[in-house]
């Protein structure tokens, strides 16, 4: 029996670069930074006072009363999902709910709600804690809300694999369609934890950039001056669809999700394997799963978060698994690190790179690390034919996910 092909027919996102996919992609190709200073009072006492905050608040798309019962991560997942749904032409398409599933993950979940309600508990007592607290903070909340609003009845899933979440959620969506359980899966990730506690926690790990005086230059993957990642917030959702289903309804097809590879390092709870062994295996598995030749993979949207160790471990993995021909980029140089949404946003960037034949730039790569011996689209977008491309995502816990997209 031949395996079902899976294609991407809709995209949605709200990011530090724009409130939708079109504005985000335009800013990305132009090399604009979404990082800015945190001017909130609470930021003053923190070692890190920069972040990549949403360009458009969810209140622009969702009414006040509804927002009261949504964690910010849930709200933006809904914004992205509705965009993707409309983009795929599904609003009036009569989708069979029993053939529709959701796979939307989050790295941290409703931490903003948890912390806010804890403040209320401390200040005013248990009776004042919102009855919406639990459905707002539960990590499966974003997936559940998307499923509720779109009427999905073939299963709603929340993957949590830290910074690999978005990519792993897409991989789960691929598996669901291949298994025959659904024809359409809304898949992606969401994250909104720009709050003093998560920032303090990451900062205590010395994982974040403290280039507070130059926010737009703080995220600088592979540059010698990199000093950690910049926290971002946002959501990205893809409509994955069984290829025959998409063709039968005459859907516009962005790309094929040809394959995925997932491994775990088994090495350290937060450090990546220094030689990127787990990442190398994930990429190799993804190529085999996709039945795509290395030579066709002309572009890689790298995980590259701007941390000293992680960036170069990935270079080692790419060398080992692919060779020297692909053109790399690190779009986190512009978007910051969206944690559980990163893999979803970067999959969208990878898909649009294939469609438009353009690799978005890696900004701030002024002084490349001595070990960087692969071709990076530094500073400016690179126009080129891209038959197939790879998106890497890795996460605390030793999660490695590689996704292969190809032209339709």
């Amino acid at each position: 029996m031949t395996r079902a092909g899976v294609v991407v027919t809709g995209l949605g996102a709200t990011t530090p670069l724009g409130g939708d996919v079109a504005s985000t992609w335009e800013a990305m190709v132009a090399g604009r930074s979404g990082v800015s200073a945190l001017t909130q009072d609470w930021a003053a006492q923190l070692p890190v006072r920069i972040a990549a905050q949403l360009a458009v608040e969810p209140s622009e798309a969702i009414d006040r009363v509804k927002l009261r019962r949504l964690d910010r991560a849930e709200a933006i997942a809904l914004v992205a999902a509705h965009q993707a749904w409309a983009d795929a032409g599904l609003v009036d398409a009569g989708v069979d709910p029993e053939r529709l599933a959701v796979s939307v993950g989050t790295g941290i979940g409703g931490a903003m709600t948890l912390l806010h309600q804890d403040d209320i508990l401390e200040a005013s007592g248990a009776r004042k804690v919102s009855p919406h607290t639990v459905p707002m903070l539960m990590p499966n909340g974003p997936a559940a809300w998307v499923g509720l609003e779109m009427g999905a009845r073939a299963g709603v899933h929340c993957v949590a694999s830290a910074c690999a979440t978005g990519a792993e959620a897409i991989s789960v969506g691929l598996d669901i369609i291949r298994s025959g359980r659904a024809d359409i899966v809304l898949a992606g990730g969401t994250e909104a934890v720009i709050h003093p506690l998560p920032i303090a926690g990451f900062a205590s790990m010395r994982a974040m950039s403290t280039r507070n005086d130059e926010p737009e230059k703080a995220s600088r993957p592979w540059d010698k001056g990199r000093d950690g990642f910049v926290l971002g917030e946002g959501a990205g959702v893809l409509v994955l669809e069984r290829a025959e289903h998409a063709t039968a309804r005459g859907a516009r097809i962005y790309a094929r999700l040809a394959g995925s590879g997932i491994t775990s390092d088994g090495y350290d709870i937060v450090q990546p394997h220094p030689e990127g062994l787990g990442a190398t295996r994930a990429i190799a598995f993804a190529l085999r799963d996709a039945d795509v030749a290395k030579s066709d993979v002309m572009h890689v949207n790298a995980h590259a978060t701007s941390t000293p160790v992680g960036d170069m471990a990935e270079i080692a993995a790419l060398h080992a698994a692919l060779g020297e021909h692909p053109v790399l980029t690190a779009t986190k140089s512009m978007t910051g690190h969206l944690l559980g949404a990163a893999g979803a946003l970067e999959s969208i960037a990878t898909i649009l790179a294939i469609r438009d034949g353009v690799v978005p730039p890696t900004i701030n790569l002024d002084d490349p690390d001595d070990g960087l011996d692969l071709d990076v689209a530094a500073h400016k977008a690179r126009h080129m034919e891209i038959p197939a491309a790879l998106n890497n995502s890795f996460g605390f816990g030793g999660h490695n996910v590689a996704l292969v997209f190809t032209r339709p």
Partner: protein, 80 residues
């Protein structure tokens, strides 16, 4: 406080918590059937009403408050 003043106060809470149009709030209206206030929002309405009117509304009393008028009567009774 008159019954009308309490009804107006409840209307403010219902608008804030559940997005109910204040013009729709009247004593004969049912919270769930007419005003679409679900069970979690009803909890918020009760807590906000306790604060606004300086009363205690025990959980086992809430199930008896089917209509806005029921709530007005209860608040009038225990608040005086």
């Amino acid at each position: 406080m008159t019954r009308d003043e309490i009804t107006a106060g409840l209307a403010e809470i219902l608008e804030e918590v559940a997005g109910v149009n204040p013009d729709d709030v009247a004593e004969e209206k049912s919270f769930t059937d007419d005003l679409d206030v679900d069970s979690l929002s009803m909890v918020e309405v009760v807590v906000a009403a306790e604060e606004k009117f300086g009363v205690k509304i025990p959980d086992d009393e809430v199930q008896n408050l089917k209509t806005v008028g029921d709530a007005v009567s209860y608040i009038t009774k225990v608040g005086s």
